[in-house]
Each structure stands twice: as structure tokens, then as C-alpha cells.
Symmetry: C2
Subunit: 346 residues, 2 copies
Amino acid sequence: MTKTIKDVAKEANVSIATVSRVVNGKDRVKKETREKIQRAIDKLNYVPDQAARTMINKKTRTIGMVVPVLSNEYWAKLAEFIQRKLLKKGYTLIVSTSYYESESDNPCLSTFLERKVDGLIAGTLTKNMEEDISEYLERFIKQDIPIVSFSSVKNNITSITGDDLTSSIEAVEHLIRLGHKQIAFIGSLSTGIERELGYRNALMLNNMAVNEDLIISNRKDHVRNFTQYGYHCVRQLVLENKEFSGLFCSNDLIAIGAIKALDELGLDVPSDKAVVGFDDIDMAGLYRPALTTVKQPIEEMAATAVDILLEQIENPIERYLQKNISFPMELVIRQSCGSPKKNLTS
Amino acid sequence: MTKTIKDVAKEANVSIATVSRVVNGKDRVKKETREKIQRAIDKLNYVPDQAARTMINKKTRTIGMVVPVLSNEYWAKLAEFIQRKLLKKGYTLIVSTSYYESESDNPCLSTFLERKVDGLIAGTLTKNMEEDISEYLERFIKQDIPIVSFSSVKNNITSITGDDLTSSIEAVEHLIRLGHKQIAFIGSLSTGIERELGYRNALMLNNMAVNEDLIISNRKDHVRNFTQYGYHCVRQLVLENKEFSGLFCSNDLIAIGAIKALDELGLDVPSDKAVVGFDDIDMAGLYRPALTTVKQPIEEMAATAVDILLEQIENPIERYLQKNISFPMELVIRQSCGSPKKNLTS
DNA sequence: CTGAAAGCGCTAACAG
DNA sequence: CTGTTAGCGCTTTCAG
């Protein structure tokens, strides 16, 4: 049987109040008594019951996190860093995967409500989100449960994002500097609109026409399998004889799928098509060719999310002072873009 | 403020017991009363408090899971499948990452003890595990908390594993059939000993000498970065002029690192070296060349783990009847081994 | 410095 | 069918 504070009290011949005192290190307890109790605790392997504590403190020391999927390196890393940092601070993380499903099919958020999490970390909170989800979100807000999101949202929820716009411009300008005149783009709802805007802005800033034929971006449905998506999109582009020599993909998995397809179509990367990805997943540097991509500072973003959330939890003064924290990102140049295009006069 | 059962009772003009009845769907409640209470619940957004329930039922409906890392597709998928299946059954999963660290540096297990998880799923439980970890494990057993492990262990803990031995033999025999006479092996403590044994058995079964020079296997330390490990091991093999034409890697990440290194050394896969991996991660089929590998039935393994664990929790009769459930695995043949070696007489 | 007692939100007898 | 009540294990006044 699992031991309770009473067992320890009996074992040490003291009251449960005193046991509680030494367990929590509060109040002063005579040294001998303390040691006696400690011995009893060790002997019985006593571990205080979180549930009982929770009832009194009104704090579960539990944080909920929703991510679309876990088997995607970006989310897995984020969750891992967050979990480890929270553990150090004495909190427990519960991760749920949404698969972009509605709350009724996949009750992530209501679980968090039942468990009375002290805070919520939201992976993707897209704008076209199902009605019921924003309803649930409202509940968290009504109950004063702090929220931090990894995608920008309205509802004055603090968000932590990479500066996608700026870095996308940088990525596309890298292709432009290499001499590419026709640059295609593959985006998706799930990777956000900003990378597409960055692409468009880069072209405009460089006085290049935006050719809608070279832009594939499903803004309605979420993409479940990015590589497959990249694979199909680029095939479509090539098989429809769209002319392009550069390709900007809104994440690395899409880029890898694209390269795979190009390879099968007999097109070489980078000599036939230069490809840029986004995220810098582990595989980016390992792929052949190694991917030129934009590196997100995941660890820093995770740390910031935890800091902000715990600050709001433990010091709820400025709770709903919304902040949008945007992290600069770094273009990592590898092999998938090759050297400047030869047939370039200048 | 967050609403309690009392608020609902007051709102609906009934006793808290009746509210409890409709919330739990037990006992019969007059339809009108039930509807009145339901309206009050909806109006107040009442959500029952898990902690309070836990105190009574002695069930947290929480499962703990330890994995070495989450940013490894194998563990991420396992965790994801398990989380989703548990959610459907009304359980919550808490995942902790051990990084193979000791419990004192990284208190995963003690968190689970505090939270009084109903069951434990252990990712890797290696034999050389730190003292303190097996001590913690004992505590779970003493407290009758069911455990399921994804690596074979003694302590009569139920384990769910792939049939590594058989499938490794199959993988190596694939290389042998392709005409490879010199086959190297890269293993590690973290991927278990069975894949190495399978490699050795395959050679012996086919009357081929086992050349220790072609076997790299660190059995002491855990590998944190498999691709890097594969990269370095194969470089070592090549730079020391070890002769081999086939290579069996104890997981796909090692294989990918190996291929990357071979590529940089000017060696082509599969024409110069044929490579086989293990696990069939998503990237295996996407890599260039696509990896021939052994596919683990992760989803089935996850489902089985959940079934067994919940069975033990909800029906604790045959609790410590140890089972070792081993799943057959499938060799997936792709491009990294190429066709039969040409300079082969037969 | 230590003990007695109230009560957190809920469920499960036990009465009516 | 519904209300009253006794705890679950713990923390926290409030007295000694």
C-alpha cells in the first residue's frame, strides 16, 4: 500500500502537522524531531500526494501543451525543451496532439481544463480554427489560466514566433543573388502565411514579377504529411512545364519531398533547381544535398515560452499584457542552392 | 473564479450529491432535475476537478512514460500513438525525457511517484542502468503500479519488443544474398545487443567468418547523436582501410550518417557500399538513396502496450504475470543495397 | 516548537 | 429519486 502522512506521523510519533512542516521545509522544527521524521519518511518511502496538495494550494504545477503532431521534429524538440525546463522548475508537462482535429473528436483542451493546468502552451492556433476551439480558449482566459502560443493570434494571447517574414525575404533574396529569375514557392496553411508574404515581398523589393503560376499554397486545409505534399507540388510544377530554377519551400520536410521528386524526374539539385527550406531540422544538414534553410532558435524560443508562462503564473499582475516576441532567424547556407547560376550575365 | 460542484448545486437548487450523480451518469435522476442541473453546468462552464476525484477513487487516470529523447522519430511516434490511444480511454499521458541521465540529475521517475501515476511505460531500461533507477523501479513494483517496457528487462516486467534478432539475421542475409562477402556492422549500447547478435548469427549461419575489425559497437556509453555516430564510425572504417562492401547499421539514423560520410569520402551507395538500416523512420524512404531497412510495427506495439497496461490497471488479477511480447518485423527493400554485386561468380 | 482541527472538491454510503 | 454526511491526504491557522 502507498504510505500517507499519517503513517509517517505514527512511525515517528508526532502529529501530521509536524510531518507536513518538515516535508515542506517551512516553519522551524527541532533538529531531532526533523531527523526522526526524515528517517520515518525514508523508511516508508513516503511521497506526498500531489492531488491532496493541489486541493489546498489550487496549483497543480502542471502545464498543458497542444501540438499538431509529435512525430515532427520541430514540435518534438519544442516539447522536449519545454518539458525539461519545466521539470527543473518543479512543473510537469502534459502534451496532447491535436492533429488539427476538432475538440469534440479529440478532447485535448477539455482534458487540460479537468486537470486544471496552471498554464497552457499552444502550438498552432490557426485563424481558421474550429469554432469550438476558440470557445475553449475563452474558457482558459476566463479562468485566468495564462496562455502562450507559438503562432500569432489575436485574443491578446502572448505569442512567441520566429521572424518568418524577414527571414523568408532573406532566403528568397539569397536565391535572387545567386541569379535565379524564376523562383517558385510551396507553402501551406500549416506553415503560416508569413513565409509566403516574405517570398512575395522579396520579389517585389527586387523588382521581379510575382508569377502566381509558380506559387502553390493550400490555404484551406492543413497538411498532414509535408514531404508527400512537397513531392506532389513540385511534380505538378514540373509536369505542367512551369519554368523555374529556384524553389523556396515553407519548411524543410516540404523541401526534402521536393528534392526527392526532382531527383526522380531526373532533375539535379542544385545544378538544375536550387532549393531553400525552412526550420533547419536535424535532417537538413544530413540530407543530400545538405539543405540551405532558415534556422529557428527552438531552444531559446522554448525557454522564453516557459519563462513568460511561469512569470504569469507565479506573478499574475501583468497577466493579460499581451506581448509578441519575435525571434530573429538565421539563414544557413549549405549545398542545395549551389553556386551562382552560370548563364547569368553581370 | 473556477466553479465547483457547490456553485452548480446552488444554481440548480439541488444538493451536491445530485449534481455528482448527473455528472457521473450513475444512479437514476429524474429527467427534469437532470436537465436543470445540466443547464447550470453549461451556464457556469463547470468542469469537475480531477484532483478531488483522485482523492476518492485512488486513481489518477494518468500514465507516465519515460523515453530517452523525444526528438527521435521512433520515440516521438511511440509517445504519440500511446498518448492518443490513452486519451480515447480517458487517460492522460505524461512524457518525460531521461537523456539516459541518472534520476538525481533528472527526476522523471520520482515525479511519476508524486503524481501517483496509475501505470508506467518505460522506453529504454538498459541493463547497465544506474543503481538509483532500478531502486525507483522497485518502488513502482512495491506500490503495485503496473509497468510495461519497450526493452527486455528482468524484474518480471512485461516487455514489448520487436524481434530484433530474427529481423537482423534477415537484413544481413539480404546483403549476403546480394553477394557481399565483407559486411561491416555499426551498433551501440542504445540500440541493444540483439541486432549485433543477429548480425553475427547471420554470418555464422552462412559459414562466413566474423571479422571483429568490421564490427564497431560501443557497449558502454549511450549514443546521443546517432547520425554523428554513424558518420564517425564509417569514416573510421574507411580511413583505416577496412575492406567491406556491405554495411548493417543498428538504426536508420546511424545509416544516414554513414551514407553521408561515405558520400563525402567519394564512395557511392549502393554501388560502392550497400547499406541497411533499422527502424524504417519516415526519412528512410525519403533519403537518397532510399534506405533498405527493417520496419518496426510501432503503432501495433504502442497499442499493445496500452492494452496490456490498462488491463493490468483495471483488472489487477494477473498483474505480475510477466509476458514478453515480441513483434515480427519486416525487411523493406529500397535502393541503398542496389542489385546483386557484379563481380560475383555463381 | 508542536498538536488539534478546519476544510479543499468530490464521491459513496446511508437515510429518507 | 434526492439530501446529508463522512472522509480522501494534505496544508494551514490557531492554540498551547
